[in-house]
């Protein structure tokens, strides 16, 4: 109970502390989008030879004729009341567009992260147990390569290998086959929705579509995770309590898996948080390669069309996710190592 209480307090403190940063992000994006050149009113006028009156009318509709500080205050008020504006390209409220597309991006990022952890933890542990061995060098080599291959190249090469040559992967466009029936929209996460309605064939098809982009993501973040696991576990394995545990004759798997690993997890958790927010940025590239209908490709389309509202909404959403991820990591910290909670 005391543990829960102290975790709660720390999370609350962290949440309050992150508010100024969030506000900073909002103001920064706003200024970036407004002050820099590129007039959306001219862009969305009927054509290149639209009259000045039409452009002025559009500017009035968009509120662009007001002074910038006033626009900023209005924008902050809108955000506080949950209005992120309307996308000019899709004609929908930005909140709705983002809510429609967020599950696709989250499903992809979370599956990629899970896959990366499943690969990176054993690799890091194996390398830490035998530093300097061929296994260690192999893991180091794999990590070095992993950081160097850009996601868009590894994604395309995976498509070539598994779709074009081997023919075992489905057509790499979108979340489900264009001829397949989507499941009812319950959570937006296809893997969960298919399970909820008990459509196993649909679930398998969706998982097959997800596999290649998720592997691409996983390869991208494998290196920092495996490296940190190795470094942190090696530091713990050299400490006194491990020597004691070994000397009183505990089984060596127990020493490593229970005592050492739990103590080595904290730095890994920190890296997981950082890695996840990098993945949110890298999503844009992976989503483009696999025509994945997520928030990244949505923001990219809006950017190219100088459509401000979706881009601001996207960045705000990413910043909010970033805060949530950090809070989650904080909670996990307290569970993984109760000493953290005692200040």
């Amino acid at each position: 109970m005391a543990l829960l209480h102290s975790i709660g307090r720390r999370v609350g403190k962290r949440l309050v502390a992150s508010l100024p940063a969030l506000l900073g992000v909002v103001v920064f994006t706003f200024l970036l989008m407004r002050v820099l050149p590129g007039d959306p009113a001219a862009f969305f006028a009927s054509g290149p030879n639209a009259g000045q009156e039409e452009i002025d009318e559009l500017r009035r509709q968009l509120g662009l004729d007001r002074p910038i500080p006033e626009q900023l205050v209005r924008y902050l008020y809108d955000i506080a009341t949950g209005h992120l504006g309307r996308s000019i390209t899709t004609g929908q409220p930005v909140v709705r567009d983002l809510a429609d597309r967020l599950p696709a991006s989250l499903e992809l990022s979370l599956c990629g992260l899970a896959l990366a952890l499943v690969l990176a933890l054993p690799l890091g542990i194996a390398a830490a147990l035998r530093p300097g061995s061929p296994v260690d060098h192999g893991v180091r080599f794999l990590c070095t390569l992993g950081v160097c291959v850009p996601t868009f190249v590894s994604g395309l090469l995976l498509i070539y290998a598994f779709y074009v040559v081997a023919g075992i992967a489905p057509d790499p466009t979108g979340r489900i086959d264009i001829f397949a029936a989507p499941p009812p929209d319950i959570t937006g996460f296809l893997l969960i929705d298919f399970l909820l309605v008990g459509d196993l064939a649909g679930w398998r098809a969706a998982a097959a579509q997800l596999l290649l982009p998720a592997i691409t993501m996983a390869l991208f973040v494998l290196a920092p995770l495996a490296r940190m696991t190795r470094a942190s576990l090696m530091a713990v394995l050299g400490s006194d309590f491990i020597r004691t545990a070994r000397s009183i004759g505990l089984a060596s798997w127990r020493v490593v898996m229970v005592y050492a690993l739990r103590n080595a997890l904290l730095p890994v958790l920190t890296i997981v948080g950082i890695v996840f927010s990098t993945m949110l940025g890298a999503n844009v590239l992976v989503e483009k390669v696999f025509s994945w209908p997520g928030i990244g490709s949505y923001a990219l389309d809006a950017l190219v069309a100088s459509d401000y509202a979706p881009v601001q909404g996207f960045v705000l959403l990413i910043a909010a996710i970033f805060v949530v991820v950090n809070l989650t990591i904080d909670v996990l910290y307290g569970i993984a190592d109760p000493r953290v909670s005692i200040e």
Binding site: L36, G38, F152, Y160, R230, V315, A319
Partner: protein, 281 residues
Amino acid sequence: MNATLRHAAWVLRGNPVTTLAAAGALAMIVVALLSPWITPFDPVASNVSNALQPPSWTHWAGTDQLGRDIFSRLIAAARLDLAIAASAVGLSFAAGAVIGSFCGYRGGRLDRAVGRMVDVLMAFPLFVLAMALVAALGNRVENIIIATAIINLPFYIRFARAEVNVRRNAGWVEAARAGGDGHASIVLRFLLPNILPNMAVQISLNLGWAILNAAGLSFLGLGVQAPTPEWGIMVAEGARFISTGQWWLVTFPGLALMLAVLCFNLLGDGLRDILDPRMRT
């Protein structure tokens, strides 16, 4: 001087991987500098009758959809990609080192304000920030450089600040102060040169990252425009032919990117191990 060279040679012999990476990076820079004179074919001359040829003895990396020699384009692109990465990293290094050093030296309110701004900038998904900057500033090469420089800036500020902070009360700084040097002179003439070796590591690691970022931006269609040979665009153009089996359009520019980043990263890792053995992982 002779002793320095001998010492450098001794260090390089003890670190074969770093030596190899340094040689690779150097070779790439030389190729980039000489690229206008050493391409076997004209990198932008199209020859449609010769389109989409697989790799052969005449065209080592095959030809693309317009019949242009991919190997020549790779060499020509090295110049642009390395130039973008080097100018971006140079810009953010210069700005970041000066801002960070002054913050670390002065401390106090200014330091805290800049620290908070750096935190906000780093909380941003940096690649998304770069996209927004290029889109807002306009699709031009110099804007890719500015965007890449800005997303690199927080790392340099943070790094320089921390490095100067541990040295600000060192004896030799006191000595300079006692000798009558002003604050600006202490930072620029004593502290900055002192942290340079450690920052060199950061520069090498960042060059790799900058190359990846710039290529990622042009892959998305931001920045460098189509006929110009550039690794990211070459991958983007080749992507259309991957499902029909023309693998060489994507693979070779991808390989070039990978090699470039690999060399700079290994070089940075090696330099860090040599300068600070405690950081070895």
